[in-house]
């Protein structure tokens, strides 16, 4: 454990600097060098609360788990103070600390594994598999026909991510997607013409009315393509990835 290395002198540490209440408890148990099977619960509880007190109110909000643990510690502490009931022959009495101790031990164990995984991660960053080059080309030299480039499998997360994205878009658009398009290409051609007649030119982006269903955008886009094909409008782009401008091919804006 590298707990001695906590920067306790220069910076004030508070509970939220720990991964969670268990992390803090592990730290306290180690710092105090107490027997895990006989934790001085009053001492540990007191120290635990000190870390909580250091926090500002707003950070305290984020500290629900710490507060919960504080409550648990206080409960255990009070149980420890209660006089033990007379125990009958066969009856077992559970140490109030027992469950907590098991939890701490279990957590601590996974933290050790996490440390080992971290070492492995670091080691893994030092090795590299072969760079993926243009493999078709490599084979072409000898086999003639180019093979389809093998590609990695799509994972379940890819699939679910794209569904989530779709649904998010749908929600943003607030579209009644199950309804018919409700707009024709002709209508959109006229819309573009009107705009050009009025302004001489327009930016591509402005043709897509915010709040309009996505399906309408698609119709607008198709209409625009149609008009480009017919030579009715021209598209210009100042720079790569820059804004695209739409001009009437023979209109006022076209000449500049």
């Amino acid at each position: 454990m590298a707990d001695e290395a906590r920067p306790g002198h220069s910076v004030k540490i508070e509970a939220l600097d720990f991964e969670g209440p268990l992390d803090l408890l592990v730290y306290l148990v180690q710092k105090n060098e107490v027997d895990i099977w006989d934790i001085p619960i009053a001492l540990i509880t007191e120290q635990f609360l000190t870390y909580l007190q250091g926090m500002t109110a707003e950070r305290l909000e984020a500290a629900g788990e710490f507060l919960l643990m504080a409550a648990t510690l206080l409960r255990i502490k009070s149980q420890m103070l209660l006089p033990r009931p007379e125990v009958e022959e066969d009856e077992d009495v559970e140490d109030p600390r027992r469950e907590l101790v098991l939890k701490i031990l279990e957590y601590q164990q996974f933290r050790e594994i996490a440390d080992q995984l971290r070492d492995r991660e670091a080691a893994g960053r030092l090795v590299f598999s072969r760079g993926l080059q243009d493999l078709e080309d490599e084979l072409e030299v000898d086999t003639g026909p180019a093979l389809p480039e093998p590609e990695e499998r799509v994972s379940l997360s890819d699939l679910l991510r794209s569904f989530t994205r779709l649904m998010e878009e749908a929600q943003r658009d607030r579209v009644h997607r199950l309804e018919p398009l409700g707009v024709t290409i002709e209508e959109k051609v006229n819309f573009v013409r009107d705009r050009l007649r009025r302004d001489g030119q327009t930016s591509f982006r402005d043709l897509f009315v915010p709040g309009e269903p996505r399906s309408h955008w698609i119709v607008t886009f198709v209409a625009l393509l149609e008009m480009v094909r017919e030579g009715e409008v021209r598209l210009r782009q100042g720079e790569r990835f820059g804004e695209i401008h739409v001009y009437a091919a023979s209109g006022r804006g076209a000449g500049e």
């Binding site: 086999t143 569904f163 779709l166």
Partner: protein
């Protein structure tokens, strides 16, 4: 002197091995202290002599952009087998989207898919059926009795799902796959701000790249 050459040759090999595109002599020389663009050509020759002597299955090839490692021509048939046995081409984004809707809305008609995606899905649907990820699951009652589509067993296998029921519900999707911004917020919360100090050595070092 001898040693330093050996070192440079090894570094050259490591670079060629890991490069994602051919490396020019200049670029290589810039990365190896004791090399110049001229000496790189010698190093490459040395390396190729090693490969020949040791019967390695690959060698350095000089191509337009520079040098790269490739398998020798005589192994092409095996490499071709390997490619052929690889996963079939990755599903396109369009296929993926359509498939995800089929998975969640099945049994579903083509019209419904098109209305959700806002584009025709005929081609995509054919690809998905060809790849046995989607099947015809019957016909809808009523007007025109359109075909209904659903997912296949191969779909489950492909995505490592024990059953359709293991697909996350909308609320679970939200948690696992909601959009980037929110995710970044969460990621920030996970990692304590550096000025507060880590909670142990390794932690403090581990966070930053």
């Amino acid at each position: 002197m001898r040693d330093s050459t050996a070192g440079a040759k090894q570094v050259l090999e490591a670079l060629l091995f890991a490069a994602e595109e051919p490396l020019s002599a200049r670029r290589i020389a810039a990365m190896i202290d004791e090399a110049t663009p001229e000496s790189v050509a010698d190093l490459v020759r040395d390396l190729n002599a090693d490969y020949l002597r040791e019967d390695r299955a690959f060698h350095v090839q000089e191509v337009a952009g520079g040098y790269r490692l490739v398998t020798r021509p005589e192994f092409a048939s095996w490499v071709a087998d390997l490619r052929a046995s690889d996963a079939s081409p990755r599903l396109s984004q369009a296929a993926l989207e359509t498939l995800s809707i089929v998975a969640y809305k099945q049994p579903v008609t083509r019209a419904e898919l098109e209305s959700i995606r806002g584009v025709t899905v005929e081609g995509v649907l054919k690809t998905l059926v060809d790849r046995e990820l989607v099947r015809i699951a019957g016909r809808e009652e009523g007007m025109g009795r359109p075909l209904l589509y659903g997912t296949t067993d191969h779909f489950l296998e492909y995505f490592g799902l024990p059953s359709l029921d293991a697909l996350p519900r909308p609320d679970e999707l939200e948690i696992l796959f909601a959009d980037r911004e929110r995710q970044e917020e969460l990621a920030l919360e996970e990692e304590p701000a550096p000025e507060l100090g880590g909670n142990d050595d390794a932690h403090a070092n581990g966070q930053e790249e």
